[in-house]
């Protein structure tokens, strides 16, 4: 029976002709657009997650504590809410770090009459605290310590990156939804045409005692097949575009966002896209059925 239903659905798909093809194309377009924004959002999301891990707050100290007092001071900082890790940077360590970063011009430092750099602590916030509000609170707590003179650092820019990510997500969903709606309407039209073409067949089926499931399932299946086909083409287009574009934009991504490579949809995400296409098609088939029976 399943083979029969599938073959009837294939027959219906052929009957849908150009309208059926348009439906497949529209589903391809809507899912490709959705997939594009999804990919952008996915890569930005990776960057955001990566940068959240790199958020550091530096607290400059009034005076360098005595070596015996460092551990006690670090333990007090570690106990503050939102602190994942803390590292003490002595004045000498700060100076050698400056020398390293100056490279060939490091000798300039040797001409200084004394070490001008203050001792500091580098605080890594917990993931929950690596947000603008979280870091603001942590900065306030650090600034309240008597040993601390000035605090620098925050996560505002990471948040603005996250806002871009949300924007891409919303735009993707909006464009995808409009195109998906058009696709559903086209599948509905294609299925309605099939229904008209199948009118005699359905009458015979009812008269001879076919169940409603057997009569209606091919319509649903052909809608699903249109959706699945559209989603598969969209996915193939996305894979092709990613393979073509990713090597060209990866250096730029590394430079701007610190991403080593442009990521693609995972296997479950690809399955979700295919299932989304099938559902769009099935919805079109269902709506046509409702229209025909109403």
């Amino acid at each position: 029976m399943l083979t029969f239903l599938a073959s009837e659905a294939a027959r219906d798909l052929r009957r849908a002709g150009r309208v059926g093809l348009s439906a497949v194309l529209l589903i391809t377009l809507s899912l490709a657009a959705l997939g594009c924004f999804w990919l952008l959002s996915l890569n930005l999301g990776q960057a955001v997650a990566q940068w959240r891990e790199r958020v550091r707050i530096v607290a400059y100290l009034r005076d360098e504590p005595r070596p015996a007092a460092v551990d006690d001071f670090l333990a007090r900082v570690q106990a503050l809410d939102g602190v994942q890790r803390v590292r003490f940077v002595s004045r000498a360590e700060a100076l050698s770090s400056l020398k390293r970063s100056l490279g060939a011009q490091a000798s300039v430092v040797d001409h200084l009459p004394r070490n001008p750099l203050p001792a500091s602590i580098e605080v890594v916030p917990t993931p929950a605290a690596a947000t603008p509000d979280g870091t603001r609170g942590l900065v306030e707590r650090l600034a309240a310590l008597s040993e601390v003179e000035e605090v620098q650092g925050g996560a505002e820019w990471v948040d603005s990156l996250a806002q871009w990510q949300r924007l891409f997500q919303l735009t993707g969903l909006g464009v995808g939804a409009v195109l998906a709606l058009a696709a559903i309407l086209t599948v509905t039209t294609a299925t309605t045409l099939v229904l008209h073409a199948r009118r005699d067949e359905m009458e015979i089926m009812r008269l001879v005692g076919a169940t409603e499931t057997v009569i209606r399932l091919p319509l649903l299946l052909q809608g699903m097949a249109q959706g699945l086909l559209g989603a598969a083409v969209a996915l193939a287009a996305l894979v092709g575009a990613h393979a073509l574009v990713a090597p060209r934009v990866e250096p730029l991504l590394t430079l701007t966002l610190g991403l080593s490579r442009a990521v693609f949809l995972s296997a479950p995400e690809m399955m979700l896209l295919l299932a989304g296409g099938a559902m769009l098609g099935a919805l079109g088939g269902l709506l046509a059925k409702g229209r025909a029976y109403s």
């Binding site: 029976m1 029969f4 005699d200 067949e201 009458e203 015979i204 089926m205 009812r206 008269l207 001879v208 005692g209 076919a210 169940t211 409603e212 057997v214 009569i215």
Partner: protein, 223 residues
């Protein structure tokens, strides 16, 4: 096989109300061949449609092949219809399928096991004398052949009851005779037949029990 008790059917309401059948009671026994005769508009088609639950009666009780027809739920209707073969004045063959495919299609949609489809379709074609035209499309058939194909489709699922609604209405005398011969063969194999016709001559020639409908009422039960 068929039992109707005080069955009535009206369409519409108010001034547009039309009574198609009124207080019809009858029984048809298993393996009986019964002619339902009446002019156009007498209520023959309505009566047949009530039997295969294409319409619900306005009043009365109907029993067909053990089914309480008006009481059937929507999902139970296919079970009733699988026990009935129906033939119309126009053959209602599917244009895009060959004669064989038309029959196989019906067997498939009612869930006949795949390996049984071909032998049963060919057996039905043989029974109506149409084996040689199995691969012909409906447009390539004469009206008589199309009606025989329609009969083959109706009997392929081995129905207990054959309802024939004006099966010879579109045919000339010779072709009509051929079709009646085929229907008689089907009946002789044990299928109950209820044949509706407006042709008085045809009813007389068959020399079978004849129910006469007039203006929605059963006026004669003869033979």
């Amino acid at each position: 096989m068929i039992s109707l008790r005080h069955v009535g059917k009206t369409f519409g309401a108010g001034p547009a109300r039309h009574t198609a059948l009124s207080d019809v009671s009858l029984t048809v026994e298993k393996a009986e061949f019964v002619i339902l005769h009446g002019r156009s508009g007498a209520g023959k088609t309505t009566l047949l449609r009530l039997l295969y639950r294409d319409e619900l009666p306005s009043e009365g009780e109907i029993e067909v092949a053990g089914f309480d027809v008006p009481a059937l739920r929507r999902r139970q209707i296919p079970r009733l219809r699988r026990s009935i073969g129906i033939v119309f004045q126009d053959a209602k063959l599917l244009a895009g399928r060959t004669v064989f495919e038309n029959i196989a299609f019906v067997l498939r949609v009612i869930g006949t096991p795949r390996k049984e489809i071909t032998p049963r379709a060919f057996a039905a074609l043989k029974a109506v004398g149409l084996s040689a035209r199995a691969q012909a499309y409906p447009t390539q058939l004469s009206q008589g052949e199309a009606q025989r194909a329609s009969l083959a489709r109706a009997i392929a699922k081995s129905p207990l009851l054959l309802l024939a609604d004006e099966p010879t209405g579109n045919l000339d005398e010779d072709m009509a005779g051929e079709i009646l011969d085929v229907i008689r063969d089907i009946w002789q194999r044990g299928t109950t037949v209820l044949l509706a016709t407006h042709q008085a001559g045809l009813a007389d020639s068959l020399k079978r029990r004849t129910l006469t409908l007039h203006a929605g009422q059963l006026v004669k039960d003869q033979g």
